[in-house]
Structure formats: structure tokens, C-alpha cells
Amino acid sequence: MLAVPVQALFGQLLIGLINGSFYALLSLGLAIIFGLLNVINFCHGALYMLGAFVAWFLLEKAGIGYWGALILSPLAVGLFGALMERLLLRRLAGLDALYGLLLTFGIALVLQGLFSNWFGSSGLPYEMPPQLQGGQNLGFMFLPNYRVWVIGVSLVLCLGTWAVIERTRLGSRLRAATENATLVSAFGINVPRLVTITYALGVALAAIAGVLAAPIYRVSPLMGADLIIVVFAVVVIGGMGSILGSIVTGFSLGVLEGLTKVFYPEASNTVIFVVMAIVLLVRPAGLFGKQA
């Protein structure tokens, strides 16, 4: 173990934190959506991909750069999500949650298939914004500015989302509707609108993750396809009961994956799934889950 160079160790830790940022942002969105809609949003990965593609389109076709995309892309994807919820998901209210999973799986196939047809599967490059290029030399390792930015932004977003849900009026309504939607609507709160807003917010988080990922990974139609399966495992490990729980689980599993890449690279793709199996055997409800 001591033979591992410090530089590689810290480098992989950093990559682990980056991946953890994406796991946290995506599982957070999944948890919020599941809480209110009782739907596991299988197209979350496809919407993350859509967010990255919107950023690419904005740059190529409208000349709007990274900073504009960081605002516009989640707006566009959130709007798309709101439409999807109104036109499709709403029709499944009251049915078994499995139908929601299958419907969103179908939507994911359509989106990924369409973009694969238009752009092939190799992916397109997206330039890093000039303000965030370069990095700091810490002596023992080189720290790229953009990576620090990604980790910072996702931490702020995660904690911000937590604050909105726990501390604001919208959040208290959302929590109340998660507990008992019928009662909340009896108090005169427009629950259907709340559902649409929640879904749009959840997928907007995925879109921001997509924009953040665009300069690191290439913008490709399948960038979200395998990611969403890992995020599912993260969600099973953390349990969807707690917002802070999914943030902590997301970041720590990213770091664990990074460490595995240093010490036992053969298992780096599978370590999260192994952890999931162990957690299921020891604590089936998940680390932060409430009931079995």
C-alpha cells in the first residue's frame, strides 16, 4: 500500500470527489422526485445528458458560453421536465410505481436513441471556460481549478436544496404533501402544481450536473446511461428517506470508488455494487432509510 505514489492517490481522490458530486446531485434529484411523485425517474441520466447537450447547442448555435449555459440549460431541461410531467407522468397517478419506472425508461431510450442518431456515440468536446482553466500547484499534486469549482458548486447546490426543503415555505409544503397529499390539498394548496415544480426542480439539478460534466467528460448521448445505474445503487445504499443522507452517500461512494482505482483498479467499476449488496444484507433499508 505504501508503494502507491502520493500524487496518484490524491489525483484519484479528486476524481472520486468529482464523481461523488455527480452521484450526490443526481441521487438528490431522484430522492426529491420519488418523495412526492412515487416515481423512480429512470430518465434522470438521459436528462443529465440533455443538460450537457443544451450547453453544447448554446455554444455552437447561439454563441452563449459556459456561464449562460449554467443558467439556461437547467431552465430549458426543467421546462421540458414540467411538460413531461404534465403530459405523461400525470396519467400514471394512482398506479403501481413500476409503471412510472417503465415509462421513464422508455423516455430515456427515446432520448438516448435520438441523440445517438444525430451525433453518433463518440461524443463532442466542450471547451472549459477561460476563467477556470489552469490550476494550483500544491507541491505534492497539481490541483486543476475547474475540478475545485465542480466540487464547490455541487456542494453549494446540495446544501442549498436541503435548505430550500427544510427551511422555506415551498419546502414545508413539499414535505407536507409528501406525507399526505390529500390533506394538504384540503388546506387549499395546489398539489398538482407542486408536483410539477418538484419534478422540474429535480431534473434541473440533473441538467446542472450535465453542464458541469461537459468540460470534463465529452458531451455524448450515452454519458448518462451507465451513470444512472450507479446512481440507483447509491440510492439503494443511502435509502431515499433523507436528503442529507443522499448527499453524504453520494460523495463518500465517489471517494471510495476513487480509492479503489488506486489500490485495486480491477474492481473500480464494481465496488459500488458490491457495497450495495453488503448493505442490503446487513441493513436492508439502506444506511439512512427509515423502514424496510
Binding site: S116, I229, F273
Partner: protein
């Protein structure tokens, strides 16, 4: 069960007559996927468990059978049996972990475990990685029937399909199957009646995995190939779609759904990723407007379960 005698006879007659009208290789592919879908339907249609990782057993058995036939030189019947048993063992392991969660979590857990197996297959020496196992010999069944002969091979595949179909049909209509349906309808109540539902679910899961394995092992001998496609989540999605479109919880629905999807892929093959788009669109339409599926609707029209 009586109400299904006539449609079963029609199905057997169609299977017997089909190779003289339609290209047999296409039919064999459809039969393998039909058995796969029937096995999957045992879980989704009768126990209410959505496994999103059934490609694990289908593709996993394909690898075992292909490896046994090619590298170890086993005769085809033993190779297919080996694949089936291998899939059953995998089913025991995966089922043991997965049945700890219900509903939507069960789907996510099976999907994640299947993805883990996919990465394992990608790296293991046993599977040939990206190349898969190619040029698997078909050999002679019971050292007697030459499987390189197309019509012989077809009827062997048809016999395997009918064996699996009959076994699953018998299971569903047995007292054991009644308990499975009780679990689907109301699991807490089944528990309160004294049934150890976890055991029932695990047995159903292993049986479903084994039959999916029988289908996958047969496919690898017929097509002389085992590859990563068969363990990919895309294949798990396909078998769900086959069952959904044919009618989940129906006896003949998965067979019709498999035939439909294999035919669709055949016609759309040259269109590349449009197959995926079409599949996705069918998913959306089925979930929104056609939840009973072909045989669910037909059964409702004829007022008999099909």
C-alpha cells in the same frame, strides 16, 4: 387450465408448421426470446416482482454453455444443462440479496447487480471480453442428432421451448403458483396466513433464472455465439418490453410479445439506433394506453384468461 387447451394446441401447430413457411433461424431466435420472456413473466406477472436484471441469467447461461461446448468440448445437451444450472446458481445468489427489498427497490437492486455482472464479463478471461465466445460448435445431440442440420436444430429448439413453457405453465397453475399470486395481490396477508413468502419468492426467482438460462444457453448453441449484448441492460429492457406488449400475467402474451419484438428488430436492423427509439416509444405507448397487452386485451374480449 381447460380454457387454455385450444390456444395451446394452436400454438404447437403453428410452431410445427412455421419452419416450412418462415426462415428457421429467425424462428429459433424468436423461440429463445419467447422462453426468456415466459421465464421473466413468472416473476412480473405472477409474483409482481419487476426484475430489471434478467439479462444476467440469459447472457450468463449463454457464456457457460458456449464455454462448455467450445473449450471443454461438452456435447450440446450437457452444455445447455450446464448453462441452465449456472443461471439457477446465479439466480439463487442474486435472489437472496434482492428479495430483501420490495417493489421499486427490487427493480433497482436487480439492475445494479446485473450491471456488476456485466462489468465482470467485460473483464473476465472466461468470457472473451469484447469479442465474446465465437464459433461455438453445435455438435450432436445425444451423440445422435446432427445439429448442423437446420430443420433438426429447429425442432430441438422447439422441443426445448415447449418443455420450458410447459414447466412454467404447470408451476403457475399449481398450489405453489396460487401462493405466488397471493403474494402478488397482498404480501402482508399471505404472511399472516402463515406462508414464508421470502422462500416462495426465492424459489420463483431461481426457477425464473433457470428458465431464462435454458433460453440463453440454447441461443448460444444455435447462434454459435455468446456476447456482451446478452448481459447488457438493454436486453433486460427488451424482455420487459416483450412481456409488457404481449400482456404480463398472461400465458401466451410473452410468446407473442417476443415474436413481435424479434420481428421488429429484424425489419429495423438496418436503421441502427432507430430500433432503440422505436422500443422506447412502444414502452411509452404501452404504459400509457395498453397496460393489459395483446393477450390481456384479447382475453378480456373472449372472456377467458389466455
Amino acid at each position: 387450465m381447460k380454457s387454455q387447451r385450444v390456444p395451446t394446441a394452436i400454438m404447437v401447430a403453428l410452431i410445427a408448421a412455421a419452419p416450412f413457411v418462415v426462415y428457421p433461424v429467425f424462428l429459433m431466435k424468436a423461440l429463445c426470446f419467447a422462453l426468456f420472456a415466459c421465464a421473466f413473466n413468472l416473476l412480473l406477472g405472477y409474483v409482481g416482482l419487476l426484475s430489471f436484471g434478467h439479462a444476467l441469467f440469459f447472457g450468463g447461461a449463454g457464456y457457460v454453455s458456449a464455454h462448455a461446448a467450445k473449450i471443454w468440448g461438452w456435447p450440446p445437451e450437457v452444455a445447455i444443462l450446464g448453462g441452465t444450472l449456472g443461471a439457477a446458481a446465479l439466480g439463487l445468489l442474486v435472489g437472496w440479496v434482492a428479495i430483501r427489498r420490495q417493489g421499486i427497490y427490487f427493480a433497482m437492486v436487480t439492475l445494479a447487480l446485473a450491471q456488476m455482472f456485466y462489468f465482470f464479463c467485460l473483464r473476465a478471461n472466461f468470457t472473451g471480453g469484447e469479442d465474446g465466445i465465437q464459433g461455438v460448435p453445435r455438435g450432436k445431440l445425444f451423440a445422435l442428432l446432427d445439429l448442423t442440420h437446420m430443420t433438426t436444430l429447429y425442432f430441438v429448439v422447439a422441443a426445448i421451448f415447449l418443455f420450458g413453457f410447459a414447466l412454467l405453465h404447470r408451476t403457475v397453475h399449481s398450489p405453489f403458483g396460487q401462493v405466488l399470486k397471493a403474494i402478488r395481490e397482498n404480501e402482508p396477508r399471505a404472511i399472516s396466513l402463515g406462508y414464508k413468502t421470502d422462500n416462495y419468492k426465492l424459489i420463483a426467482f431461481v426457477l425464473s433464472a433457470a428458465m431464462a438460462g435454458l433460453a440463453g444457453g440454447t441461443k448460444s448453441i444455435v447462434f454459435q455465439l455468446a456476447s456482451l449484448t446478452d448481459v447488457h441492460w438493454g436486453t433486460s429492457g427488451e424482455v420487459i418490453l416483450m412481456t409488457l406488449i404481449g400482456g404480463m400475467g398472461t400465458v401466451f402474451g410473452p410468446v407473442a410479445g417476443a415474436l413481435f419484438m424479434v420481428a421488429l428488430e429484424n425489419y429495423l436492423a438496418q436503421l441502427g439506433s432507430w430500433v432503440q427509439v422505436t422500443e422506447g416509444a412502444i414502452f411509452v405507448v404501452c404504459v400509457l394506453a395498453f397496460r393489459r397487452g395483446m393477450f390481456g386485451e384479447l382475453g378480456r374480449l373472449l372472456r377467458r384468461p389466455l
